[in-house]
Symmetry: C2
Subunit: 259 residues, 2 copies
C-alpha cells in the first residue's frame, strides 16, 4: 500500500470548527513506457502492476499481437519506467504520431478510427445470471481497499461466472482496464467466457478496449454513453450499467443476462 498512498497534512473545517488532520491521498506517478528502446508514452498512474499496465497499453494500442512477441519486460519503480523488448512490435512512427495527434484526453479517437480494422465482433455464447452480476459487483466493492482509504481511485475486475479472477485499482479509469488486459495477455487467459466490472463510466474508448480483448460483457455501477452503445451494438458486446440496489439496465444484447 505504501507505494499507492501518501499521508499528508490537511486542515479540516467541519460544522464551523477547524482542525489539523492527517489524511491518506492517492499517489499519482508519471509512468513512461519504452518499446524497443523508444520512448512511447507517459501515463499518470497508480504505481502497482506496472508490467501489466505497460503490456496492456501496448496490446490495447495494437503494438503487441502475441505474448511470444515479448522478449523482455523490465519495470523500474524508482524511475517510473517500463522497458519492453518485442522486436516484431514495430509500427511506422508516422502512424503512431498521427494517432496521438488525433487523440485527446480520452484516447477514444484513435480507437474510433481503428475500430473496423482492429476489432472483431466478440463470441455470442456467453451467458450469466443477473444475481451473479449483483454478487460480483458487491465483492468488487468490498475489495476496493485503496478507494476506502483515499476515495480517489477507480477499480475494474475480470470475472468468470463464479468469482473475481483479477482486481485492479488505479487513479486512471483506462489504466484499470489496461492492467486487466495486460494480465490476461501475459497469462493467456481465454476472455470469451469472462465479464469485466468497472466503477467508471462506460465511454467509447473503454468499450472498445474491452471489445478488443474479446470480453463479451461489461458491467458498471455508472452510466454508458451513446457512442459506447453504438460500438457495443457493432461489436457484439453486452453493456450492463447502473448496477446498484438490485437494479441494472442492459443496453445491448440483453439475451446474455438470465434472470
Amino acid at each position: 500500500m505504501d507505494q499507492q498512498i501518501k499521508i499528508v497534512r490537511a486542515f479540516q473545517i467541519k460544522a464551523g470548527t477547524g482542525q489539523h488532520i492527517e489524511d491518506s491521498v492517492t499517489r499519482e506517478s508519471p509512468f513512461t513506457i519504452f518499446l524497443n528502446d523508444k520512448e512511447l508514452v507517459t501515463l499518470l498512474s497508480t504505481a502497482e502492476h506496472l508490467d501489466e499496465l505497460a503490456v496492456g497499453f501496448l496490446k490495447s494500442e495494437g503494438f503487441l499481437k502475441a505474448k511470444e512477441d515479448i522478449k523482455n519486460i523490465s519495470v523500474d519503480l524508482n524511475e517510473g519506467t517500463a522497458k519492453i523488448y518485442a522486436p516484431k512490435a514495430v509500427i511506422a512512427e508516422q502512424t503512431f504520431l498521427k494517432r496521438y495527434i488525433t487523440t485527446g484526453c480520452g484516447k477514444g479517437t484513435s480507437f474510433y478510427h481503428l475500430t473496423d480494422a482492429v476489432c472483431q465482433p466478440v463470441e455470442q455464447g456467453f451467458k450469466i445470471k443477473s444475481d451473479m452480476i449483483f454478487e460480483l459487483m458487491l465483492q468488487a466493492q468490498r475489495r476496493s481497499e485503496l478507494f476506502k482509504m483515499t476515495g480517489g481511485v477507480h477499480s475494474s475486475a475480470l470475472c468468470n461466472n463464479e468469482e473475481i479472477l483479477y482486481f485492479r485499482e488505479d487513479i486512471g479509469r483506462h489504466n484499470t482496464v489496461d492492467k486487466l488486459i495486460g494480465r490476461c495477455f501475459l497469462d493467456g487467459v481465454d476472455t470469451a467466457d469472462k465479464l469485466l466490472l468497472t466503477t467508471g463510466r462506460i465511454s467509447s474508448e473503454i468499450l472498445i478496449k474491452v471489445a478488443k480483448t474479446g470480453v463479451p460483457l461489461i458491467a458498471s455501477r455508472s452510466a454508458p454513453t451513446d457512442l459506447a452503445i453504438k460500438h457495443a451494438e457493432e461489436l457484439g458486446v453486452t453493456i450492463v450499467a447502473f448496477v446498484r440496489n438490485q437494479r441494472m439496465n442492459i443496453y445491448t444484447y440483453p439475451e446474455r443476462v438470465i434472470y
Copy 2:
C-alpha cells in the same frame, strides 16, 4: 438538451423481473480542433459550448496567449469541428508531437514537463468563507441538469465570492475545465479573485490547468492526488476537497478559507 442527450431502449432487471424501458444517455461526440487549417487534436466531448472548448484547449496547451491573437472561430456542429485562425499561434510541429507522444490518457505529463516554463504562481490576496464554498457547491449540484438526466457527466463552475458565473457540463472532466478557461479567455475575465468548483477528482493535470488560468482556489466533492497537492504547493493554489456534509479538507494554503 437534444444535442447532449439521446433516448435509447434498454432492458431493465429489477428485483428479479425484467421490462423494456426508454432511457436517456449522454451523447459522446468526436470534436476535432483545427488551428490555422492544421488538424491539431480530436477530443471526445459533449457537443455544447464547443467554441469555448476549442479556445480553452488551445489556451491550456499554450497555443494562445492573448484574445487578440484569434482572428476567427468557426464551429460546425454537424462536422464536429472547430476552425480557429490565430496567425501568431504557431508552434514547432516537433514540439507538439513530442508533447503528445509523451502524453497518456491524462494529458498530465505534457503539463508536468511544462509547469516551470508556463505556470506562474497565482496571486495570494483571494479569501472566501467556508460557508460560501458549501453554498456554491450546493448551487452547482442543483444546476447539473444533464447529470440528473443521464448520470454520465462531470461539471465544473467558475464562481466569485457570491455566485456561480459560468457552469459547464461534459463527459470529460478535463473538458469542463477547458470550457470554463475558454469562456474566461473570450470574455477577458479576471480570474485572480475567482474559485473553480468541480465534480471530478483533483489530479495533477486539472490542478495545472486551473493554476495556468490564475484561479487561486479549486474545490471538489471528490479527492485530490499527491501530485496535484505537490503542484498546488509550488504554484500557490488552494486545494479544497471532499466538500460534502458541511465538511471540507484543505490541503494547501488554508489561509484563503475563512471559517
